[in-house]
Symmetry: C2
């Protein structure tokens, strides 16, 4: 960090620096910087001398220099807490898209769920004076808010997909209630009434929430699950196959499966086909996620719930920009609706 | 960008700015900045006054200010050209990991294969004075080098996974020759000699290269493909199923399939199982990618080739850091070896 400016071999050799502009204009670096940012008072002739030097040297306005005077870095931290996977990727892309349009650059940090890495990245983001931070993760379970770094309280933070446990924070989440209701409603509207629900581990909020809301929505229609209980297990095809076999054995009158994700739904569909059960003629299947690799490769392709994850990232970015511009956060949880994607499995 | 410093509601309100430090120390912003970066000559008393002011105000060393004097931003652009998908994600993570350890921050840019977006992001990266750029994409086909922005020639650029068409550039690529040879060698070592090859579209370099090297390696063993030709098609399970049916019909003596990716291999495996052909007892199957979702959900789980994509990202980052430190690039293509992952399909 202390290498002298213009050191031999520096990659910026050949680029005019602000110091060069200042020298040519006969002013201090601070004055040259002020002239470029438009901040501060100075004589018009002085500002013109600086602008002439910029022109003569082909100097590109340097955001670092401008940041000194505007107090904004036009940079936002995008922190993903558990690798960049199938769920956090669309959040990142949606956020990057919304921020890029506003000329905000995105500093990527991957903490891999490691507290030490998170602190390291946070310290770096604060040193770089980011204007705000978006935090995302794979799970819908609430996570503790960022903490432990001086200055953090003075910039806005938005939690996307994985909400903060603090209701005073800004969070943008998926609508698991609406998603479960869309799935159940669709099955009811196609005449199914004996619906089984196979989903992921009970300790995941996504599994618990979708199950609870599916059961409640069936209840409003005077119905209950065909098997009398939720089949919690894993987010895997193998679990879908095992669960389908169990349901066929114990509850042969079942006419539909609502599955907690597309991998489970694909496993269910494979098991049904291999037992000679027609999908959707005999039993309809609905998945969750609209993960094209699974939903389209399934035989038949899956009707499923799309969480609009990119929209979660986009809205998180827009809330962050609003908070940056307003200088204050509007706390609370914003919920992004799901949509039903109908294919041949229903 | 021209909002006055310390404007009401600015998110940085409450943070001491360099201007505050300078005012307290009774020096110019330029002098305060120089005192912090350690660059430039000044009287020790002056530097001490600035450091005392830093201490008194709780000012955090600001990388923007330091960048003015060191000529380095300690920031690298990470540009992905076609969304962030299954292939570019591990490149990004590998690169982020290597750069983060070196206290370099990563500016994320997603160009989505759009030339206008690429220019927009490049301009932004240059304005932010990045120390270098890593370019990555989903395909292994060479891509034209970045161009069209002043100053680009003065910073190093490394192409990861998708190499540059210019051999004078720095590229880090996967070893498709080695990968194809590992797959063929493994099948030969388990006693298979009548091997079919089913892969993706012929206009993809990954499909062409793996096919060419597989055929050549069989040739060295005095063998040729069981069906006498490469089966080019799509990177999909449906294509794998169709191709397996065709091979069973036309070339029943085939005792192994080497597939261009794991989706094709999974389709082949499904079709064989559904026709009552034992995998691996009757026919062995090898995939490519080691994509766990496909390779582990397959019945049986797939033997496959792992391209070590995160390592491609890591090596790209290390080459970039070397070039930044040395002030000059060491051009050429670096190849990262694959590894064979043996599971039950062979």
């Amino acid at each position: 960090m202390t290498a002298p400016a213009g050191a031999p071999g520096s990659p910026s050799t050949g680029r005019a620096r602000l110091a060069d502009v200042a020298a040519l204009a006969g002013v201090s670096v601070g004055t040259a910087s002020k002239a470029l940012s438009g901040a501060g008072r100075m004589r018009p002739e002085t500002r013109q001398r600086v602008l002439d030097a910029v022109e003569a040297l082909g100097f590109r306005p340097n955001q670092h220099a401008q940041s000194l005077h505007t107090g904004r870095s036009w940079t936002v931290g995008l922190m993903t807490t558990d690798g960049i996977g199938r769920f956090s990727t669309p959040v990142l892309l949606g956020a990057e898209d919304a921020l890029g349009a506003g000329k905000i650059s995105v500093l990527l940090c991957d903490t891999r769920g490691d507290a030490i890495r998170e602190q390291h990245h946070l310290r770096n983001l604060m040193d770089r004076r980011v204007d705000g931070i978006i935090v995302t993760g794979r799970r819908t379970d609430p996570r503790p808010p960022l903490t432990g770094i001086t200055g953090l309280e003075s910039i806005p933070v938005v939690y996307a997909l994985s909400p903060s446990t603090d209701p005073g924070d800004m969070s943008v989440v998926t609508d698991d209630k609406g998603g479960a209701e869309l799935a159940v409603e669709h099955l009811l509207s196609t005449g199914r009434t004996r619906i089984a629900h196979v989903t992921g581990p009970e300790h995941h909020a996504a599994a618990r929430d979708r199950a609870r809301h599916a059961v409640a929505h069936l209840g409003e229609a005077g119905l209950e699950l065909s098997t009398g209980r939720v089949h919690f297990g894993e987010w895997s095809e193998a679990w879908g196959r095992r669960a389908a076999d169990a349901v066929l054995r114990t509850t042969p009158g079942t006419d539909a499966f609502f599955c907690g994700n597309d991998q489970i739904a694909r496993g269910v569909t494979d098991a049904l086909r291999e037992r000679g059960v027609g999908v959707p003629e005999d039993i309809a299947v609905v998945g969750y996620d609209n993960w094209d690799t699974m939903a389209l490769a399934s035989r038949p392709p899956l009707t499923t719930i799309d969480m609009n994850i990119a929209e979660i990232g986009r809205i998180a970015a827009l809330r962050l920009l609003e908070a940056i511009d307003a200088g204050e956060a509007s706390p609370g949880v914003r919920t992004v609706p799901c949509r039903l994607v109908v294919r041949e499995s229903t």
